[in-house]
Symmetry: C2
Subunit: 334 residues, 2 copies
């Protein structure tokens, strides 16, 4: 049997309210009895019941995280950033992965609502785009990481990398290296980040007076296999590209590994640039040139924003989306 404040009260010969006060270090209780109660609680192995506490305080000290899958290294870094900051503030996190399945995405949102989380952060998931309304119904702050939201709501903001800027950075770098036929391997369908990166790519081409060729934009999925497959379609083009900008590092790494299998020399025959700068990017071979995003920091920022929104509450105002700029990290694939 778990021991409750009632048990302690009995053992200490006081009322349960006094125990509650003593345990929360209220100044309303005599130092002496407080000490006695605390010692007793310790001895009896008492742990407060967060569930009961939440029922009355109406706060769970828990925030929800929704992701597509935690196995994506980018996501894992962001989640770690969130978790770190949450822990520093005494909060714990409930993790829900949506697997990009509509049924599961909706279930995740409902679950977070039922579990009464105090805030939620969504990253790399369609949930931010598709279920924003549901999310807002929860009535708690929501912050999206790299998920475009048309308009910030009262409690809904986002922290994102400047995708267009990053796409431009990557493509311009390739152009400076003398490439004229540059392909783009896209990310998961309908993902807002993808549109931005593509836009940056197009803008860079335009600025350089290079034509945009639809055939040079091939579909990927943000994962290793998507990158591999993309290379197979690119190599069969009438005039294959001499460089590729990939939606993210996983795509680029998949493509790199296909290149190796096909005997395509990187960067001599094909230059490649990724996006994210996941920890492994520097360790594949050749080491990957990429656009670095401060992944952990973005997680921390998002979590911090949720906290700010939680306390600001009715105070309103003063909030805005934050966007960080990616940095070009030149390694050996370009």
């Amino acid at each position: 049997m778990r021991v409750s404040i009632k048990d302690i009260a009995e053992a200490a010969g006081v009322s349960h309210s006094t125990v509650s006060r003593a345990l929360s270090d209220s100044p309303l209780v005599k130092a002496e009895t407080k000490a006695r109660i605390r010692r007793l609680a310790q001895e009896m192995g008492y742990t407060p019941d967060a569930i009961a506490r939440s029922l009355v305080t109406q706060r769970t000290q828990t925030i929800g995280i929704v992701v597509t899958t935690i196995t994506d290294p980018f996501v894992a870094e962001v989640v770690q950033g969130i978790e770190d900051m949450a822990h520093e503030h005494g909060y714990s996190v409930i993790l829900a992965s949506s697997a990009a399945e509509p049924e599961r995405e909706l279930a995740a949102v409902e679950m977070l609502r039922a579990k009464r989380v105090d805030g939620v952060v969504v990253t790399s998931s369609r949930v931010g785009a598709l279920y924003l309304a549901h999310l807002e119904r929860i009535g708690v702050p929501v912050v999206l990481v790299n998920n475009h939201n048309q308009q910030s709501g009262r409690y809904t903001f986002s922290v994102s990398v400047d995708n267009q800027h990053g796409g431009h950075l990557a493509t311009a770098h390739l152009i400076r290296r003398g490439h004229r036929r540059i392909a783009y391997v896209s990310g998961p369908a309908n993902h807002s980040d993808d549109a931005g990166r593509l836009a940056g790519y197009r803008r860079a081409l335009e600025e350089a007076g290079l034509p945009f060729e639809a055939a040079l934009v091939v579909p990927g999925n943000g994962r290793l296999d998507g990158g591999e497959r993309a290379l197979y379609v690119l190599k069969d083009l009438d005039t294959p590209p001499t460089a590729v900008f990939c939606y993210n590092d996983m795509t680029a790494i998949g493509l790199l590994s296909a290149a190796r299998r096909l005997g395509i020399q990187v960067p001599r025959e094909l230059a490649v640039v990724g996006f994210d700068d996941i920890p492994l990017a520097a360790h594949v071979c050749p080491p990957l040139t990429t656009i670095a995003q401060p992944q952990r920091e973005m997680g921390r920022l998002a979590m911090g924003m949720v906290f700010d929104l939680m306390t600001a509450d009715e105070a309103g105002g003063g909030f805005s989306d934050v966007t960080v700029e990616g940095k070009l990290v030149v390694r050996e694939t370009t």
Copy 2:
């Protein structure tokens, strides 16, 4: 304001208990009123309050996961397996990372206890080894993934890969390839998996009549940087090894990337074998030979075991630790 069953009761002109029954599809309520109530609940945007429910049912439909860091690809896969299976059973997961900091490890356990999780699974964390007693105090099933536990408790079991077998597999493979000086780069200090893998390594050497040389066992940490550093110490040995078996894939990949920097040809000058077979192992270059563990499956197994333990409850008996065997996957680093 959130709508509660009381609000629905009022709107429907029935008592709140009838609403509760209707919503839980109790046969004790007339089909007609049941339908009316459910429609009303729907219209009013009702979501049950899991907190309140938990307080009375004494179950939270939540399980705790403790890891060192979610950014380790092996951990991420296991966690995904756990989350998948949990979701299939209507459970959600609360994630706690310990960062291998004693303060945080203890905090994680206390938090899970306070939040009244129905079960916990620990993976790649010292928590299983160091805080087993605390963990058991929570009074719920605990399953450790790749964490040695001296003796299975009443509710404490583990699912692990056969480390010794895996270590033997890796080393024997290297020996068959003709290597005589084989190094081992170890994992995080005091990690039980490490001991097993090392034992397998030693046994393979022994069987082949090769001497064990302490100098050939160099410390790593299970991460990329540990692998990199390890190679720097290995290459400075009087007689450097011609092959290395690494604690895990991350270590091996770090080592591979250092090799590239140092101009050491793999596998010609140095063969390397990893452990885990993380998704990226096949995509580094050269593609990594490794010992594959069914990571997701292990996560699912662990979660399933927690469920079984939860329901078996007092029934007791019939449970035992499960150990799976790793498989040698030969790629191009050997």
